[in-house]
Symmetry: C2
Subunit: 392 residues, 2 copies
Amino acid sequence: MLNFDYENKTRIIFGEDTHKTVGEVLKPHASKVLLHYGGGSIKSTGVYDDVINSLKANNIDFVELGGVKPNPRLSLVNEGIKLCIEENVDFILAVGGGSVIDSAKTIALGAKNEGDVWDFFLTNKDNNGALPTSTILTIPAAGSEASSGAVITNEDKELKLSYGRENLRPIFSIINPKIYFTLPANQIANGVCDMMIHIMERYFTNTKNTELIDGLCESTLKTIMKNALILKEDNKNYEAWSEIALAGTIAHNGLLGIGREQDWASHNIEHELSAIYDVAHGAGLAVVTPAWMTYVYKTNVDMFVQFAINVMGVDVAYRDSDKIALEGIKRLKNFFREMELPLRLEDLNIDDNKLELMAKKATNFESGKENLLGGVKKLNWEDVFAIYKLAL
Amino acid sequence: MLNFDYENKTRIIFGEDTHKTVGEVLKPHASKVLLHYGGGSIKSTGVYDDVINSLKANNIDFVELGGVKPNPRLSLVNEGIKLCIEENVDFILAVGGGSVIDSAKTIALGAKNEGDVWDFFLTNKDNNGALPTSTILTIPAAGSEASSGAVITNEDKELKLSYGRENLRPIFSIINPKIYFTLPANQIANGVCDMMIHIMERYFTNTKNTELIDGLCESTLKTIMKNALILKEDNKNYEAWSEIALAGTIAHNGLLGIGREQDWASHNIEHELSAIYDVAHGAGLAVVTPAWMTYVYKTNVDMFVQFAINVMGVDVAYRDSDKIALEGIKRLKNFFREMELPLRLEDLNIDDNKLELMAKKATNFESGKENLLGGVKKLNWEDVFAIYKLAL
């Protein structure tokens, strides 16, 4: 285990009807709120009305900014920053999924710092503060409700980059599994894949002696897969949604990454797909991650054997590490298939035209300062290119 | 799963040599510190000198109060409160195990509230604030380094009571597994038992659909047992200590109790032993908990079957729920035996003289307002008496 320094100040308020308490919980923190959200779904489900009613009942002044799209755009973020400054907003409430939350965090950052907020994503420099944020989650997937990071797409530059600091962690997040009952099957599948890969990016490591956290990762992954299949048949199953919702938060609140080197190659490789082809992040991960696993497993075959046995239930009697590891990857793909996730780039309508370009962009190759990706195996642009080709 | 509201603001700084950074980490929080500790062990191990050097290097003013004993006493707490007020202390640093930390939390409470601090433990009333605290842990066991509670013994009244509020959670806790290398075998065993029972008090519940947290509990319990046996043979094994140390924090930071009714009967039943006979808390739990399990398992046999199979590795082919459940309890006792923990009250030199008295005290029977203990099965004084007798 490596030394670590971990804190997570986000308060989690979980359960049926909890979103209706948002005004009460907000009141001590805020005098003027930016209510930030995406499209029309929060209006059709009634969540919007519940939130507005709770804010009004608690005499909380607010302005609104809707219109966040998946792979949230810098242009809307800049609009939000302007609005916060003009309106003297001192707190941002994000009602939505990871895209809305990440957009809110970036607005919170931009509202408290001079200059172009995009610079933080380009340079990873420290910030001088951020407005406090909170969330009402409408899809459990990204884990951003309790994470310190945000991912934003600069649509002009076709760049999707992340930035994280402890002061971007939401003050509180409200999770009501009933809100998820109306999610369509593909969003459930994408969300489940996203949270699984959040765990796997941490789980796959060359760090030795990580037994406790390994066990927590394995247990959480198994719970996600089991309950995802229940939701596929019955998307109004409150108990299955509760397990998935809580797992999505734990998957990405940082706990499962303490004391170990982490990987994150699959996320970086996927971000190029989202930036250029605007694919859903979870769907992109379902394609990229098994290809990444297949490409790197020989670097640390024992760990992939552990995954195969402890997570995917592969029988230990194979007597061949490579076979066990590959069987684990195959079963993961079978699970993705059962969830009707894409398995190959062609399922996302992506051909081989831009693969080399994306591989070079992902590793920043053209800058002359190539940035190797990953932890288990350090990947240069040619490795990334090979992984894209494996995923064709 | 039940609705829940969970936050844990304690920052965990973990790893070799981390205690030497205490001055740096403290500096932004404190102008005058009370350094609180127990007996001579932190002086013989060099931890005391490291802490003093780090405080001095960061120009942090401090006063000292040592002498905390296991089952920490109210009298020393009152002395600490007086000292904090006289010396204008604004931060308490506890260097020790659970007893020192609980003593520090109670001093922190008393220093910010008028009147007798013991009243909070007697009445569970809300408080008006508490001094901030932090810890350097010298034995992983009680989990108090990231918990919101404290347990104090009023030695005059032979009462051991707990009190908890969110504002008693330490600001940060420093965990360096190397500090544990000098712990004697019986303290290792007591600590391991304490952290296991912290999990089991949450794990055993009548709440349904608690799959994710169940899995985390089971995985953590298995990691503790495996690494405890390593430490029994090799008490300077850094990696095993790391697993145990992290498990001890996770066992009691609240995460493993979210979304479920909890039990805590074993703790309440044990507290009477500690209050009257001054036995070590972990040793008392090793005796009480299996007796409690034996007494209550029929109330929810399926859950005890799950424990037997998923934690104790009982073969599922027994075809008899009672047998599986009882085999699980037997294997837990076998583990305690292997750790050389006491298994019966007689191993603690406790006879049947005061059992009825203790059972009545534990349930507050004499007051006329009997307080039933536990969650899985609500226990009156006669149930508690029966459990004590089972443990003879």
